[in-house]
């Protein structure tokens, strides 16, 4: 299945109502620096293109850039790392948001059951821990809350290391947004990974949409 760039993916999930970290795109080093200044430092810079689905594996994500010089150097590196097979690329500059808790949410289309919304524990241990649960789209709001309740690590959703409890209404909003995206049959899958919990509210800092 073909994937969309992070920028195109962000537009789709944002339109549906997913909270994403503040962001903009930039075509060159100068506009990357301007974007960083207007978003406020620190920022994240990424190389962005339809064919680039696995940015981290290729080292195309630069985190915690806290000066104009760092942004400029990162932008130059990223543009230089583009390969011919990546096709058209641009830079994606987003605010560096922080939180101790990472979730993952997404949408898949299952052969037997059709569109399904997923919620799970995110972070580097996500696959090993595999604390995830599914519901079939379309979700009723009560289904979204049940899905949140299905996570094994409920204590992670309470107050945690000085951070407030996860806002279940806001998290349900995210899940309902994914459910709405499922109505668009041109979209095969969505990945919000990670979904960082910032002051209790889930914020997607990356998005990947696969089209059918």
């Amino acid at each position: 299945m073909p994937t969309l760039s992070e920028a195109a993916s962000r537009r789709i999930v944002e339109d549906a109502g997913v909270a994403v970290s503040p962001w903009t795109t930039a075509a060159d080093i100068g506009s990357a620096e301007e974007a960083a200044a207007s978003l406020g430092l620190p920022v994240v810079a990424k190389l962005c293109g339809d064919a680039i689905a696995h940015k981290t594996e290729r080292g195309l994500v630069r985190l915690g850039l806290s000066s104009a010089d760092e942004v400029g150097a990162a932008a130059a590196d990223l543009l230089a790392a583009a390969r011919p097979e990546d096709g058209e690329v641009e830079l994606l500059i987003s605010s560096m948001v922080r939180g101790n808790r990472e979730l993952i949410a997404g949408l898949i289309r299952d052969e037997q059951f059709g569109p399904c919304v997923m919620l799970g524990l995110g972070g580097i241990l996500a696959e090993a821990v595999a604390d995830v649960a599914f519901r079939l789209a379309p979700l009723e709001r009560a289904d979204a809350f049940d899905l949140i309740d299905d996570l094994g690590a409920q204590s992670l959703l309470d107050e945690f290391r000085g951070e407030p409890a996860v806002d279940r209404e806001a998290l349900a909003d995210t899940l309902m947004a994914l459910s709405r995206i499922a109505e668009n049959t041109h979209i095969h899958s969505v990945d919000l990974n990670p979904l960082i919990v910032v002051d209790g509210r889930p914020v997607a800092v990356d998005a990947l949409v696969e089209t059918a």
């Binding site: 949410a105 037997q112 996500a126 649960a133 519901r135 079939l136 009560a142 299905d150």
Partner: protein, 486 residues
């Protein structure tokens, strides 16, 4: 609106094909079972040779079937013969077919074609078609045992639909063991025309059924199953046990979500969303269904544990506390005060309510009623019964009975056990709350008078507190969903 399966489960008469005098053949067994379990309508046997089998006349051809007497045709004839038989039977007034015969889609390309023709024929003739390649159909209100296998279960309120015939038998065996009976049971076989969802929809409209129990393996159209069963569960609990839960594996997908999506995780989410009661094992599925069939739905999740002595209460409190859907009730002050007046001070004065052996003749029946009546208690698990019955058993079989006053004490112990079991059932009935009695004696000594009396009260004696807590958790979860969603 459910498809009308009445002619399958409530036929006026039954005709069995493939009947021969060989008692090992399916046709013989099916005829034997139909004739042996109390079916009161006319029964017709069709075989290759005219004569008698089991003293019952055998028709040499389906052509000889009288008109409008049999609704149900049970096919034990080879696949090649069945289309002609079905057409003739339909002309004689048959409205439902249970095809026990194999040789259909489970048997390669020719079988797939034969099955498609059979389905098309049933559609054309407006027949209910169950199977093929299934073990049969049971309907206790009709006294019907149209199966090529045993057993025939006691009558009750659980309806079974299974994608595996052997698990129909397993559930019916548990019904026989526990006395918690069955209303209808069907082996879906290849489910060519009638699927588990069709059966569930009909069960939900069936006055003889309070709860459905099903075994599932594959759901080729899972989405349609979901859409249909979520409506069924608004009306009736549906207990599901799923085979083949570990085959998921990882799928090739660009997304992380895709790689975390195993078949079982999605099935589990679907089951919860549809309001299905998903049990982990065959025996816990039966116990969940038996609990729905015999206990009131609780109106909350606060569980009180009653025990005659210590250890049982402790492990049960652990199990309740660890269960995500249950809460160990706080012992209300007024109940504590009331119990203080009934027991010596060594009782636990907490939940679990542990009598610490301080009970006298009427304590347990009174305490069961008092606890069940309390508005801050939603359900009770009663432990530690059967001790007196156990003592009575050893005493009765020992060398000193009935002398030395033993006859009298044995009678007393046995009478007390029967009182306890009756009190548990009466407390559940009077206050509309589940009261579950658990004891290893349920399987270790089913002849124990307490176990026998629980059975006589129409309730399940749970073989362990863990199993009682698991069943209760299913009840509480389903009841909470019913309250939230309707």
């Amino acid at each position: 609106m459910a498809r009308d399966l009445t002619p399958l489960f409530e036929p006026r008469g039954v005709v069995v094909t493939g009947v021969s005098s060989h008692p090992g053949k399916f046709g013989f067994v099916a005829l034997h079972n139909v004739l042996s379990c109390g079916f009161s309508g006319p029964v017709f046997a069709v075989g290759r040779e005219e004569g008698e089998v089991l003293g019952h006349p055998v028709l040499a051809s389906i052509e000889a079937l009288p008109e409008n007497q049999a609704d149900l045709l049970v096919l034990c004839t080879p696949a090649g013969a069945n289309e002609g038989i079905v057409r003739t039977a339909a002309a004689r007034g048959v409205r439902a077919v249970f095809c026990a015969a194999g040789g259909y889609s489970e048997a390669g390309p020719e079988g797939i074609e034969a099955e498609a023709r059979l389905v098309a024929l049933a559609d054309e003739l407006g027949l209910v078609l169950a199977g093929p390649n299934g073990q049969g159909v049971v309907s206790t209100p009709a006294g019907l045992c149209a199966q090529i296998v045993a057993p025939y279960p006691p009558r009750g309120r659980i309806a079974v639909a299974s994608q595996s015939g052997n698990f129909v038998s397993a559930f019916l065996n548990y019904a026989g063991q526990t006395g918690i009976g069955i209303s209808r049971a069907v082996s879906a076989g290849n489910a060519a025309a009638t699927s588990v969802a069709d059966y569930l929809e009909w069960f939900a409209e069936d006055d003889e059924t309070d709860v459905a129990l099903c075994y599932l393996e594959g759901l080729p159209d899972g989405r349609a199953f979901y859409e249909r069963v979520r409506e069924v569960t608004r009306r009736m609990p549906v207990v599901v046990v799923k085979g083949g839960t570990t085959s998921g594996g990882q799928r090739a997908a660009a997304s992380h979500t895709g790689s975390l999506a195993s078949d079982d995780r999605i099935f589990d989410g679907m089951a919860r969303q549809a309001g299905l009661v998903r049990a982990a094992t065959i025996e816990s599925a039966f116990e969940a269904a038996a609990t729905f069939a015999t206990q009131p739905l609780p109106s909350g999740n606060r569980v009180m544990v009653l025990t005659t002595a210590g250890g049982w209460g402790v492990v049960t409190a652990d199990a309740v506390t660890a269960h995500p859907d249950l809460t160990l009730a706080a012992l209300p002050d007024d109940l504590r005060t009331a119990i203080d007046g009934m027991l010596p001070p060594r009782w636990s004065r907490n939940n679990p309510i542990d009598l610490a052996g301080g009970e006298t003749r009427d304590t347990i029946p009174e305490l069961l009623d008092l606890t069940a009546a309390h508005p801050e208690v939603d359900a009770i698990v009663q432990l530690g019964l059967g001790i007196q019955g156990n003592t009575a058993s050893l005493t009765r079989s020992g060398p000193f009975h009935p002398d030395h006053g033993l006859e009298r004490i044995v009678d007393y112990h046995e009478r007390q056990e029967r009182r306890y079991a009756a009190a548990a059932a009466a407390a559940a009935d009077a206050h509309g709350k589940p009261v579950l009695v658990a004891s290893e004696l349920a399987v270790a000594r089913p002849d124990n008078p307490m176990v026998a009396a629980v059975r006589d009260s129409g309730r399940l004696c749970y073989p362990s507190a863990d199993r009682a807590v698991t069943a209760l958790g299913h009840l509480v979860r389903y009841a909470a969903r019913r309250r939230a969603r309707t």
